[in-house]
């Protein structure tokens, strides 16, 4: 099986462990990733603030490149990229006459032939394979954190349920983890304010991390590089805001799956985290 792959900018930089772990897991489950040729940035959380048309044109260019390469489906592991891509796709499907205008802007035909999927959606298709290959169960209590962009707005992404989503929990359970039932699965972490309003991010992340620890989670599991960097890289600020010293690690779901499949931690980029991935009691998976 093959699928189009749009890593996005963060996965080449600050979140390269996500890229590494997605690739490692996909290889293990037999899914070939075909990178969209010469892809550009999707505009992330900046383009739409300054110009709506730009925020549609950049993702449309990516999808048009994919279309030209004969792809019909593109996996965007980064939740922010996914959100921009599917948002543009959905808007252009709703207003088909805008397709002509956008094609002019991006200088190539955009027809809407390429569908966008997120990493949970793709892994869900392989849930049984993943379960079968989970030789070293990740026997930890985990708090699955979805963030905003995977499930909202529900009419656009049309994936899982908008409040209290389940797919990540189910996948984590398939590899031996025990997902906790907790109320902060989709509370915002502060997203793009990481640099400009670190104080706010610290406050929002504080609620999330604190709740997970209170409910005895041993790890936070995420599927979004922005959430990851806020929960992981901004931990010093978060701890300062909370007045606590919480050392709960933040793993990408693909890392959790990868570890359970027995993939070498280094290949999954475990060493790249700011909050070290270390657990108190020994388990089947080590980091």
């Amino acid at each position: 099986m093959r699928i189009g792959y749009y890593p996005g900018c963060s996965l080449l930089g600050s979140s390269r462990e996500f890229n590494e772990s997605v690739k490692a897991v996909c290889e293990a489950i037999g899914l070939e990733l075909v990178e969209v040729p010469d892809w550009n940035c999707c505009g992330a959380s900046s383009a739409h603030v300054l110009d709506h048309e730009l925020s549609v044109a950049l993702p449309a260019k990516i999808l048009a490149q994919a279309e030209a390469a004969g792809l019909t489906e593109v996996l965007a592991p980064c939740a922010a990229c996914y959100s921009r891509l599917i948002g543009a796709y959905s808007e252009l499907e709703k207003n088909p006459d805008h397709k002509t205008r956008v094609s002019e802007i991006i200088e190539m035909p955009y027809t809407g032939a390429v569908k966008v999927v997120n990493v949970l959606e793709v892994l869900e298709r392989f849930a049984d394979v993943i379960q079968a290959k989970a030789v070293q169960p990740f026997a930890r209590k985990v708090a699955c954190y979805y963030g905003c962009l995977l499930v909202r707005p529900p009419k656009v992404v049309n994936f899982d349920r908008p409040e209290d989503p389940q797919v990540m929990d189910q996948l984590a359970a398939k590899v031996g983890a025990t997902p906790i039932d907790w109320p902060f699965k989709t509370e915002c972490c502060g997203a793009a304010f990481s640099v400009t309003r670190t104080d706010l991010v610290a406050k929002l992340c504080g609620k999330i991390v604190d709740s997970a620890v209170k409910l005895q989670a041993e790890a936070l599991v995420v599927a979004c590089p922005m959430c990851h960097s806020n929960l992981d890289m901004r931990r010093p600020e978060t701890n300062a805001a909370l007045g606590k010293d919480l050392q709960i690690p933040v793993l990408f779901l693909t890392q959790v799956i990868g570890l359970a499949m027995g993939i070498e931690p280094k290949k999954l980029g475990i060493q790249r985290h700011m909050v070290p991935v270390a657990f108190n009691a020994p388990t089947g998976a080590q980091a």
Binding site: C9, N40, C41, V49, L50, L58, F193
Partner: protein, 190 residues
Amino acid sequence: MSSASHHAPHADTLAARVKAATGISLAQCYQCGKCAAGCPVSEEMDLTPCQVLRLLQYGQDKYDERAMRSAGIWLCLSCETCSTRCPQEVEIPKIMDVVRAEALKRGIAHPKSKDILAFHRAFLDSVEQTGRLYEIGLVANYKLRSGHFLKDVMLAPKMYVRGKLGLLPHMIKGTAAVKRIFKRTLGSKG
């Protein structure tokens, strides 16, 4: 011929601009406050989301201006919590985009928007130049634009050690095409 034109909002109000740009009618909002109740940052806002919508509902310059001058609109994270739960299905983040763009155009954006804008501008600069985001370039550019030179200086070495910072930008083949996209969209609107 059609009677629809009777009900079109006054042409140059912000509400009319919102309608034209997004198709959303401000009249849909019935001020239940559910957006403000769920918004992760509404406590930080000088105007909560429902208040911004309320001001726009008047269709009067002084209220439009009050909305555009607020700091709160710059705090919206576009997390979509409000629109997901809105009983009237108002897509508030899209409205926020329009209000911010108008505030910038008229030069009345709140001073606190400076840093946030600097970040977004720096981000887009990077994309315009290389086609992709160049994170180091972004941080350097942001610092230049915002003046926060010492921000996060302790973070960079840690990131570097963990292989999280690429020192060179990724150039794509289609940079020229991307630049033209910027010109046709952002550029054409000043």
